[in-house]
Amino acid sequence: MINSIAFLIGATLMYSTPILFTALGGLISEKSGIVNIGLEGMMVAGAFSAAAVTTITGNPWFGLMAGSLTSGTIAFVHGLLSVYLGANQIVSGVAINFLGPAISLFMCKQLFNGSTNTPTIDTSEKLPKLFANIFTEGSFLDFVFHQDITVYLALFLVLVIGVFLNKTIIGLRIKSVGEHPKASETLGINVYHLRVMASTISGAIVGIGGASMSIALSSHFSPTLIAGQGFIALAAVIFGKWKVTGVLNACLLFGFTQSLVIFIGGTDLEFPSKILSMLPYFVTIITLIIFKSKSSAPKALGIPYER
């Protein structure tokens, strides 16, 4: 029983991590007023770059940076197009969802002899796990704390972004630009620069989310690796009412239901796992219905600002 609980806690943390990175990234972009429904595509691109660079250089930290850089670049372009050329942000996001996976798979086939998967990365070349060999294997603490370093990074990032958005000048300005760009402009804030910056930071974080999938949780990139997690993250931002703690809770919920599916699959319980897999989506819809509030989205979200 104790071990089951430990397993669930550990697996919840593990599975919520990639979504958490991506949702935190999405949050920053949306806070500045830029919608990015291309989170999925950016996550795929980040996951691929990370796996490819790790495979080639043998250093997962280079891989992590590459993943972050790739998605950051995509989000930078998305930001530029949205801010300076008045792009339809939703449509641009749809384009990212096509281009991210397409270019990744194209490159993958080029680099790895026509395969759509990158070669499996040796455990020693993956991102390290923390608290290995400290607790007795299979013990409660081992299940809970013996995790990929990305799990701790993600939780730390929650704190950092919470402070960034609420306590720092730049963070507060990003929020003001997403709420009322005109008022911000009159106070001397450069709306355009801030929005492009927020979008770029957002992409860089989303890329880490992708990387946490391909070089930490899993050990290679494949076309079905991300499988909708970017969309879940998109939902988590809304589900979390555009607040850092809300996003954290939403991601933990998704991670929990996902690990519940795996947990029940490993027991003798005769409960169809496919029905259980629907749970997070039902829960999201029902929760959104119960705790509806209209005012939580940034006011200028998705509206191009013209001087």
Binding site: L85, G86, Q89, V94, A95, L99, I275, Y281, L288
Partner: protein, 363 residues
Amino acid sequence: MLSKITKFKSIFLIVTSIVLGLVIGSIILLLAHYNPLQVYSTLFVGIFAKPKYILWTLLKATPIIMTGLSVAFAFRIGMFNIGAEGQYMIGALLAVICGYYLDLNSSIHPIIIIIIAMLGAGIFGGIAGYLKIKFDLNEVISTIMLNWIAFYFYNYMIDTPFLNKGMNVSHKIKASAKLTIISSNDFLEKTNTFLYDLEKVKFHWGFFIAIILAVICWIILEKTTLEFQMKAVGLNPNASEHAGIDIKRNKILGMFIAGALAGAGGAIQVLGVNFGITTLAAMQGLGFEGIAVALVANSSPIGCIFSGLLFGGLRYGATKIQVPPISAPSEIINVIIGMIVLFIAVPKIIEVLIRNRGEQYDK
């Protein structure tokens, strides 16, 4: 007159986007050491050289025309339907169930099935409209969630006693339910090559059904006041309500129709091509392709036929370029589609390009 000018302008922007998408595609091919001329000519020949190839293109285009219509229709009433994917799956699921269990004459069996699939998928789509109206739940979120619910439900149903428990494939539908035009006949080869092609490609009535449904959509949008009412709501919600426009009914109805269209797509694919369904490992992506189809069509139902054919052709042609002698990754097609969508997202790029050229002429 103004509308004619804007219509011309939007068609111009779309065609330019397509051309630019192909140009970017060729640059990427060049960078990857492929000859873009060779790739595009193979693509072109691979799509048009034989009647058989064109039939294949029509087959490939049919499902995405349907999901495209679904997204386009929702766009026109002011909803963004990301849920075509799930609605399509519900349609396919219902088609298999009705195709296996219903016992009807072959002249009406497929029609009844498609109607049931449309009703079921329509209700499924309508949920997103209802949630939007009743609880102010963003349809982008609800349709993403509903897609996954449909996905797991689809896989769950295949694995029940109802549809072949323990297997990853469902039962096959009855012969009376099929949309096949010509069933296997060996003598055809000698008598008529075109009919032989029809049989060999397993061409079915689905493409024509898609066209009929596109025309019906066009009639609903152009000849009824549904879209006009929704536009009025967008411009001035209060005035529209005073004028007696029922926003709630219209939005739910619009999403119902959108769902029904995607569902018809799923049903057609089952009745015409697959005759059954198999467990899915991942989403098929037809709903997303539908978004691209609708965007390139500028949300016009008739336009969806053409943009669906464009993407269907590219998809089918891709199978010709990934084999020797070219062996280019077929993903280049998705790169091209993505770039086309990107240019459509940013019409200003094209406007700036043209303006600069104009200024050069002035000098």
